[in-house]
């Protein structure tokens, strides 16, 4: 890191009154529209989100946060996006936000294709289109070079795709599928319409029901190239860094919420005539959770700040944040169950909902092990 960047670091976390207001607005909205009962209701639906709430998110300008104003969005930065994601993570919001407003939007922004941006971004921004990004396949890999799905030119300027995509977020409800596939020239990005021939989508039964995933089968399915033929790798990596920063913030928000739950319970639950929070075994768990929550928050926002400031550390900090926040959230969610004891093991208690979200987000966009390896590489180790 350069000396200049260090000097600026203190300003990374200096949130403005506008930031505070954004956070307060989103928190109020989610308290009203995404209470636990609603989360549980949506978990049991196939779509996994409430269209009216989605429209309201769009009305608040949240679905178009990253979209430039000329394409109908708010033109905000990654830090604003993270504030929203942190709150959504707290509330376990069930909505295709990460898939559409983050992954699909970022993929388009970084694909180097102004025509595709003009065509797709306005719909993503106003929420009328739900997008998703289909990268992973049988191997679960997020690396462009591992893609096996094939793309063949159809001789008239278009392409057809053949292959299978797994673990695609909100695959069932997306009306714009951005699919990574391999042409003769290498990994390339394609747009696939929902009704295209040879396209089949089926839901996957996932551990975490608060975020839907599905399988996409492509059999000579017509598709439109986004960006250059064979040139998707760099743009995809950049988009995934933004998504990692956003997801890390979601994880930090979830981790802070489970810490609050654990602490609140430890203050009132009595055993042997004392609140269990007066025992050091519980205190030390909670203190360690706070250390992780605070560090996760710092790591996530540092990554978002690097994205907005376009420093050369975006990749390093995004991988650092994704690896650290994943483990911090998972550990805090597990400890929250432990602090709650028997009640924390029940279906009725929300502790398992956070534990399952922590588990799914840990793997999503690449595991902590994957991101630590990426971090080492990006540092030239």
């Amino acid at each position: 890191m350069t000396a200049t960047a260090q000097t600026e670091l203190a300003g990374v976390f200096d949130f403005s009154p506008e930031h505070d207001e954004l956070r307060a607005t989103v928190r109020r909205f989610l308290a009203d529209r995404s209470p636990e009962a609603e989360v549980r209701r949506l978990m049991d639906t196939d779509a996994g989100y409430h269209p009216a709430v989605w429209r309201q998110l769009a009305h608040l300008g949240l679905t178009g946060l990253l979209v430039p104003e000329r394409h109908g969005g708010a033109g905000s930065g990654c830090v604003e996006l993270q504030i929203v994601c942190e709150e959504m993570g707290r509330a376990l919001l069930c909505a295709p936000f990460l898939s559409s407003a983050v992954l699909a939007t970022s993929a388009l922004l970084h694909a180097g294709d102004e025509a595709a941006r003009a065509r797709y971004l306005p719909g993503l921004a106003d929420g009328s289109v739900i997008g998703t990004l289909a990268v992973t396949e049988e191997s679960g890999s997020w690396r462009a070079e591992d893609v096996a799905t094939r793309a063949e030119a159809d001789g008239s300027g278009g392409y057809t795709l053949t292959g299978q995509k797994l673990f695609v977020l909100d695959a069932a409800v997306a009306s714009l599928l951005l699919v990574l596939a391999r042409t003769e020239r290498g990994p390339s990005l394609f747009a696939v319409a929902p009704g295209a021939p040879g396209l089949a989508r089926e839901p996957m039964a996932t551990l975490d029901a608060t975020r839907k995933q599905g399988r996409i089968t492509l059999d000579a399915t017509p598709a439109t190239l986004v960006g250059s033929d064979g040139g998707a790798a760099a743009g995809l990596a950049a988009a995934l860094d933004v998504a990692a920063a956003a997801l890390a913030a979601e994880q930090a928000g979830g981790a802070r919420r489970v810490l609050e739950m654990a602490v609140d319970y430890a203050k009132v639950r009595e055993q042997f005539g004392r609140p269990i929070g007066s025992y050091q075994a519980i205190k030390h768990k909670c203190a360690d959770m706070l250390l992780e929550v605070e560090s996760a928050t710092s790591a996530a926002y540092a990554a978002g700040w690097a994205v907005d400031a376009r420093t050369d550390e975006v990749g390093v900090l995004a991988s650092l944040a994704k690896a650290y926040c994943s483990e911090a959230y998972y550990h805090c969610a597990a400890e929250n169950i432990q602090v709650h004891g028997g009640i924390g093991f029940t279906w009725e208690h929300p502790a398992h909902l956070y534990f399952k979200r922590a588990t799914s987000t840990r793997i999503l966009l690449g595991s902590p092990t994957y991101h630590r390896e990426l971090l080492a590489r990006r540092l030239g180790i």
Binding site: F13, E294, L320, L375
Partner: protein, 424 residues
């Protein structure tokens, strides 16, 4: 908090090198020292870099016999040229810097690899005097303390009062009036860092009833050459004798050397000054990043960077050091924005201690069979620093409050969990 100070002289492991002692500086009139508190950050940085460029004494020697003299000379240079105690008021020899410039100060000192001060004067003892001392005491003690002409130690912990500091039993009996009488002090203190070389001790003694806990403790300045003071150096597990057991047998301390009120000394154990801690932790975080860089070099030299398991560990090391920096920056951001430091400030010290311990464990694992060697074995060469640090950092999670006590404090003071003890 503030129990013992195991970190004192030990500092970070530094590569050996010949020392260039700073030339004895002239003693300028204190009032003539430049007031840098109003400088813009860039101008301040430029001045500080120029100062370091001209006066940096070179790497700190490892040899204990020359190390202390080297560090005292450096401390004299800093003091005489007005580059010491960034958070202290100018009236008492400090720089009187706003938080933003304190941060620049610590960062530049760390980046410039300036030697780490030889005493805890700026950290604990000085702030206690600044807050609770009289002007006469400040006049008498602070400047020699800053210059390291007079070295100080702390007499806090006792054999039977470690984490439970309020259980201390060293008695101080007031003979005469509270203003002009004397205290007669008898008892035993332990883990006093620098006691073998110290001129003075900041002592906590029992003046109330045995049951009075924190309400019956008085803070005194003890002259280490006074009759009845005996120092028995303790050899720590690294082989060094940095701290000592100090026995006091009817030692006479003038009441004029009491800091604060009779029975009101407990607060001396927990004083910190302004934002000194949050700004200086930033410097420590930068030093760790350098240490992690050296660790990666070690792995390279050992041909281990191709090992996927080692790569995971190195990534964790980088992450740990960066988190210290980022958490520090977050505190600083809040402070500079006029807000309280927030909960993140409370976890920083725990995180530092645990991290440096883990980091040296990793380094010794990377040494493989060479980790069996004594730090001084020639086969290790400069890598002896890792073995030394490995042993030294066992104390990181004990000194100045064990990690367990820090977790208690975090749980109770920040998270609001109920206390199960009296003072916390």
């Amino acid at each position: 908090m503030g129990r013992t100070g195991l970190t004192g002289l030990a500092g970070l492991t530094a590569p050996p090198a010949e020392s260039r002692l700073a030339a004895p500086a002239d003693l300028p009139d204190r009032s003539a020292l430049a007031d840098r508190s109003g400088l813009a950050e860039a101008a301040f940085r430029t001045e500080l870099r120029a100062f370091l460029g001209e006066h940096h004494p070179g790497p700190t020697p490892r040899e204990r016999s020359v190390r202390l003299a080297f560090l005292r000379a450096w401390q004299g240079t800093l003091t005489d040229l007005g580059w010491v105690a960034p958070a202290w008021p100018r009236r008492w020899g400090g720089m009187g810097l706003p938080a933003a410039l304190q941060a620049v100060y610590h960062r530049e000192m760390a980046l410039g690899r300036a030697p780490v001060p030889p005493t805890n004067a700026v950290g604990i003892v000085g702030p206690a005097l600044l807050r609770d001392g009289t002007d006469a005491q400040r006049e008498r003690y602070l400047r020699p303390m800053l210059r390291a002409d007079e070295l100080w130690c702390q007499g806090f912990s006792e054999p039977e009062a470690g984490s439970d500091l309020a259980a201390l039993r060293t008695r101080a009996v007031l003979d005469g009036e509270a203003q002009d009488g004397v205290y007669r002090v008898t008892g035993r203190k332990i883990w006093s860092t620098n006691a073998p070389v110290a001129h003075r001790m900041l002592l906590l003694a029992r003046t109330g009833t045995p049951e009075s806990r924190s309400r019956g403790i008085t803070c005194l300045v003890v002259d280490m050459s006074a009759p009845g003071v005996r120092v028995r150096p303790l050899r720590d597990m690294t082989g060094a004798t940095v701290f000592a057991e100090v026995s006091l047998d009817d030692v006479v301390v003038p009441a004029a050397d009491r800091i604060g009120a009779h029975d009101g000394g407990w607060r001396c154990a927990r004083v910190t000054l302004g934002h000194e801690r949050s700004t200086s932790l930033t410097a420590a975080a930068l030093r760790y990043q350098r240490v992690v860089g050296d660790l990666v070099e070690l792995a390279r030299r050992r041909g281990a960077t191709g090992d996927p398991a080692v790569r995971q560990e190195l990534a964790r090391a980088v992450t740990g050091a960066r988190l210290l920096e980022l958490n520090g920056a977050r505190v600083l951001g809040r402070v500079l924005g006029g807000r309280d430091p927030g909960p993140v400030s409370s976890v920083n010290r725990l995180q530092h201690a645990e991290f440096e311990q883990w980091l040296h464990e990793l380094a010794v694992r990377l040494l493989g069979a060479d980790g069996l060697l004594d730090a001084a074995d020639p086969r290790l060469g400069t890598d002896g620093r890792w073995v030394r640090g490995f042993l030294r950092t066992r104390g990181s999670t004990i000194g100045a409050g064990t990690s367990e006590m820090q977790r208690n404090t975090i749980a109770e003071k920040v998270l609001g969990l109920p206390a199960d003890r009296e003072e916390t």
